[in-house]
Assembly symmetry: C2
Homo-oligomer: 186 residues x 2
C-alpha cells in the first residue's frame, strides 16, 4: 500500500467535491486512512500536494493520448486518434478531468512554470506545424489552433457528461464532432 498514492487519490476525490480550500488536510488524511502527519511527511505543504496532484494527472493523460495516437498512417488519422483518446480518457477519468479544469481556472496555475507548460505542449504544436507546412491545415497561428482544439475537446466532454448517452451514441457524438473540428481547421 503506497500511502502517497492513497493520499493523492483521497485528495482528488475530495477536491473535486469540496474544492481546494473546502477540503481540510485532516479530512484528506482520514479519507486516505493515514495519520495526519503522514500527509506532511510526503508533501511539505498543502499547496505542494495540490500542485503534485496536477502534475501527476497531466503526465498520465499526456502519456495515454500519445501512446494511443502513434503509428497512424495519415495526418488526419493521427489528429483524430489524439482527439478520440483525449475524450475517452476524460470519460474514463472524470474526477481527474474535473480536477484539472478546476486547477486551470484557479490561481494555483501560476505555480506551474510557463516553460513546463510550453514543453508539454510542444509535441502538439510541432504536429500542427507539420499539418500547415503540408498544406492540410489552414495557416492559422498554431497556439490559436491548439486552443481551439482543446476547448472543443473540453466542450464535447461537458456535453457527453451532462447527457447520459449509450456507448454507441457517445462514439457517434465524438466522431461527428471531430468532423466538425476538421471542417473548421482545414
Amino acid at each position: 500500500m503506497d500511502k502517497r498514492q492513497l493520499l493523492l487519490d483521497a485528495a482528488l476525490k475530495l477536491f473535486v467535491e469540496y474544492g481546494f480550500h473546502g477540503t481540510p488536510t485532516s479530512l484528506i488524511a482520514k479519507e486516505a486512512g493515514v495519520a495526519n502527519g503522514t500527509l506532511f511527511h510526503y508533501f511539505k505543504t498543502k499547496d505542494e500536494l495540490i500542485v503534485a496532484l496536477y502534475v501527476d494527472i497531466k503526465s498520465r493523460m499526456g502519456k495515454y493520448v500519445f501512446e494511443n495516437a502513434k503509428g497512424q498512417p495519415t495526418f488526419k488519422e493521427t489528429v483524430k486518434e489524439q482527439y478520440l483518446a483525449s475524450l475517452y480518457w476524460a470519460l474514463d477519468n472524470q474526477l481527474q478531468f474535473r480536477f484539472t479544469e478546476q486547477f486551470k481556472n484557479s490561481p494555483y496555475l501560476a505555480r506551474i512554470a510557463p516553460q513546463e507548460i510550453e514543453a508539454s505542449l510542444k509535441p502538439f504544436h510541432d504536429m500542427l506545424h507539420k499539418g500547415i507546412k503540408d498544406k492540410i491545415i489552414k495557416p492559422h497561428p498554431v497556439d490559436m489552433l491548439f486552443t481551439l482544439i482543446s476547448n472543443q475537446t473540453f466542450g464535447i466532454n461537458q456535453y457527453l457528461i451532462s447527457n447520459n448517452f449509450s456507448k454507441a451514441k457517445q462514439h457517434q457524438v465524438i466522431t461527428d464532432s471531430f468532423e466538425m473540428l476538421w471542417a473548421m481547421i482545414t
Copy 2:
C-alpha cells in the same frame, strides 16, 4: 457611495487573485474600505456573497450581448454580433470573465438552480433552433452546438489575453475565428 457595490468590486478583484477561500472576508471589507460587519450586513454569509457576485456578473454580460446583437438583418450577422459582443465584453471585463470561469469550475456552481441556468440559455437555444429549421445550420443537437460555440468563445478569449495584440489584430483574430466557427456549424 454604494457600499454593497464596493464590496462586490473588492471581492471580485481579490477572488480572481487569491481564489474564493484564499480571500478572507476581513480582507474584502478592508479593500472595499468598509467595516468587517458591513459585509455581513449585506450578505448573510461569504457563500451568499460569492453567488450574488456570479449572478450579478452573468446578468450584466447577458444584457450586454443581447443589446448589441439585436436588430441584425440576417441570421449569420445576428450570430456573429453575439460572438463579437461576447468577446469584446470579455476583453473589457477580464476580471469578471475570469471570475465566472473560476466559479463555473468550482463546487459553487451547484448552488445555482438548473432551471435558472436553462432559462438564461433559452434565447440562444431558440435562435439555434431557428437556424436549423431554416436549414442554415447543420442539424446537430442545439445544446451541443451551444457548448461548442461558448467553448470556442472561451478559447479565443484565452488566446487573445495571453498574446498582447493591437486592437486591429484582435479584431482580425475575432472575425477570422468567427468564420472558422461558421464553417464548423454550417
